[in-house]
């Protein structure tokens, strides 16, 4: 039995579900919006066991061979948010989530991906040290609450970008002269500045040992939000050199991720810079343009574990 956990409107989750259906694999979609009507229990000693009561059925967690997690923050789901913090519904959803995540940390079966492994993406500078250890170069970065230090860094590098340290409001923006006055705001919150790295964006998806890569053509500082600034995005299927794809697999493995979306930039001098490893990538956005079947690779990986 394979568990898919998330919400049914999520494209990557749906794409994997359809592939599993075509493969005639045994799976269950655990819809997070049904948390108020879900029960779960686990027991941990020298062994781990448990049961999930969902949709009128009881699933023995011992029969689960693989799990695909595309979890949403349960507090943001309308069914739970509307009930309000401190409500019985809210508390129940928190408990169900916590017990399920606890089980995913304990089970020896395949989990794509474990919450503790996904968490490195919540601190970009922390993840940068893992990226560097895998042999990629990372942009020169300053984290500061000192406006003077920010200006010195700007002068030193000529062009710089700023982006959040956590995963919240994680949009990359280039610092412009119009924002000069706002630099004094950094005194209130550690702010991350990075040298602007010129070059061509690549997204590499790693699924187990398989690699899918594409080039992204856009004039936006952050192509994910190009439409907000009136820019377009073109995604082209492109191979990356074998040593780069091997390094990507090695990086995903180091991070404990069976599925990862790795953001790279090829500098004009031919060197590669790595910005980030996304542990829950929206791969359908890329495969729609390239024709790659990342969903099939994920489904195949899940189904291959028995």
């Amino acid at each position: 039995m394979i568990i898919l956990l998330g919400v049914p409107t999520d494209d990557p989750l749906l794409a994997v579900l359809k592939c599993l259906r075509r493969m005639d694999a045994k799976f269950v979609l655990v819809d997070q919006t049904e948390m108020p009507n879900t029960e779960v229990e686990i027991e941990a000693g020298s062994e781990v066991s448990g049961a999930l009561h969902y949709g009128g059925e009881t699933i023995d967690l011992g029969s689960v061979t693989a799990t695909f997690l595309r979890p949403y923050d349960f507090r943001q789901l309308p069914e739970i948010r509307d009930a309000g913090e401190g409500s019985q519904v809210w508390g129940h959803a928190a408990t169900v989530s916590d017990i399920l995540y606890s089980w995913t940390e304990l089970t020896s079966t395949l989990v794509v991906n474990r919450p503790s492994d996904m968490a490195s993406n919540n601190s970009k500078p922390y993840q940068a040290s893992l990226i560097k250890a895998a042999g990629f170069s990372v942009p020169e970065t300053l984290i500061t609450t000192d406006p003077v230090a920010a200006r010195v860094f700007w002068q030193t590098h000529g062009e710089i970008v700023y982006k959040s340290i956590s995963g919240v409001r994680s949009i990359v923006k280039r610092l412009t002269k119009e924002q000069d006055e706002r630099i004094s705001d950094v005194a209130n919150c550690p702010t991350q500045f990075q040298e602007y790295v010129p070059g061509t964006d690549y997204r590499v998806h790693v699924v187990g040992s398989k690699v899918f890569s594409c080039e992204i053509v856009s004039k936006a500082d952050d192509y994910r939000y190009a439409y907000m600034h009136g820019y377009g995005v073109e995604i082209l299927r492109r191979e990356v050199p074998s040593e780069v794809s091997e390094r990507c697999v090695s990086l995903a493995t180091r991070c404990g991720l069976a599925l990862a979306g790795i953001d790279l930039r090829l500098r004009p001098d031919g060197s590669w810079c790595c910005f980030e490893v996304n542990p829950s990538p929206a791969f359908t956005y890329y495969q729609q343009a390239t024709g790659d079947r990342i969903d099939e690779a994920v489904a195949g990986l899940l189904a291959s574990h028995r």
Partner: protein, 244 residues
């Protein structure tokens, strides 16, 4: 010129025990760092060109160089918005996330002793749930009490009627009125979890729980923590310390 070394106690502004510890350890250079220090001018940290002598932090409202910091004791798992009353209400949640994420990176890169080093899940240690402590201990051959958890309101956790003995691990030393075997088991579990500050509870030599947040009220434990952070050789244990 040599500057005075600083011991940082990173804690909530509401943590009276941490404030008391900072006061007691003041002669050893201890200072309290609260999340509010992260929303003050003075932090400068360049990555990956990490120049420790040029990087600066703010501790207790004062700027200090990273290389002046001799050790860090972490007494909070994550920063919440309630810590940041100087920040505009609408921005508190975001700033709390940013500070937590930065502290994770900072604590993991410091060259000095840190109790405990952070993980991606917590600013101190691995943030294991009871089930994870118990399951990992069992894998090490430690006798454990099975832990059960259920989301069903009717299923309450089993009450423990037996007396509980607590072992505190500080580095490779253990403290508490327990058997040598329990102390060894606690140490083994701490090493497996890659933590140097841990508390383990036993009932008749059966592990019932563990966590990374031991009480530091005992003089023996707090002295051992101070010695660990300041690289001082441990003092001989008095009664109550079962191994060292």
């Amino acid at each position: 010129m040599d500057r005075e070394k600083i011991l940082v106690i990173l804690a909530s502004r509401l943590d009276r025990a941490a404030a008391g510890l900072a006061e007691r350890w003041a002669p050893h250079g201890a200072r309290l760092m609260t999340p509010g220090d992260l929303s003050r001018e003075g932090w400068r940290d360049q990555i990956p060109a990490f120049k420790i002598a040029r990087s600066t932090a703010v501790v207790g409202g004062q700027e200090v160089r990273f290389d002046e910091i001799e050790g860090v004791l972490v007494r909070l798992p994550w920063v919440t918005e309630h810590e940041l009353d100087r920040v505009a209400r609408a921005d508190r949640s975001y700033v709390a996330s940013e500070i937590s994420s930065y502290l994770l990176s900072w604590l993991s890169r410091l060259h000095c002793p840190v109790l405990n080093r952070p993980s991606a899940m917590s600013l101190s240690g691995p943030a294991w749930r009871s089930e994870q402590w118990i399951f990992n201990a069992a894998k090490l051959g430690i006798q454990v009490k099975t832990v059960r958890r259920s989301s069903a309101a009717k299923d309450k956790p089993d009450a423990l009627n037996e007396p509980i003995e607590v072992v505190t691990v500080v580095g490779d030393r253990t403290f508490g009125q327990v058997s040598a075997q329990d102390a060894q088991h606690a140490l083994k579990l701490a090493q497996h979890a890659r933590v140097n500050l841990m508390s383990a509870s036993f009932s008749n030599s059966v592990l019932v729980n563990a966590n990374c947040w031991p009480s530091l009220e005992s003089d023996e434990v707090s002295t051992a923590v101070l010695a660990y952070l300041s690289h001082r050789p441990p003092m001989p244990s008095s009664s109550g310390a079962v191994s060292s």
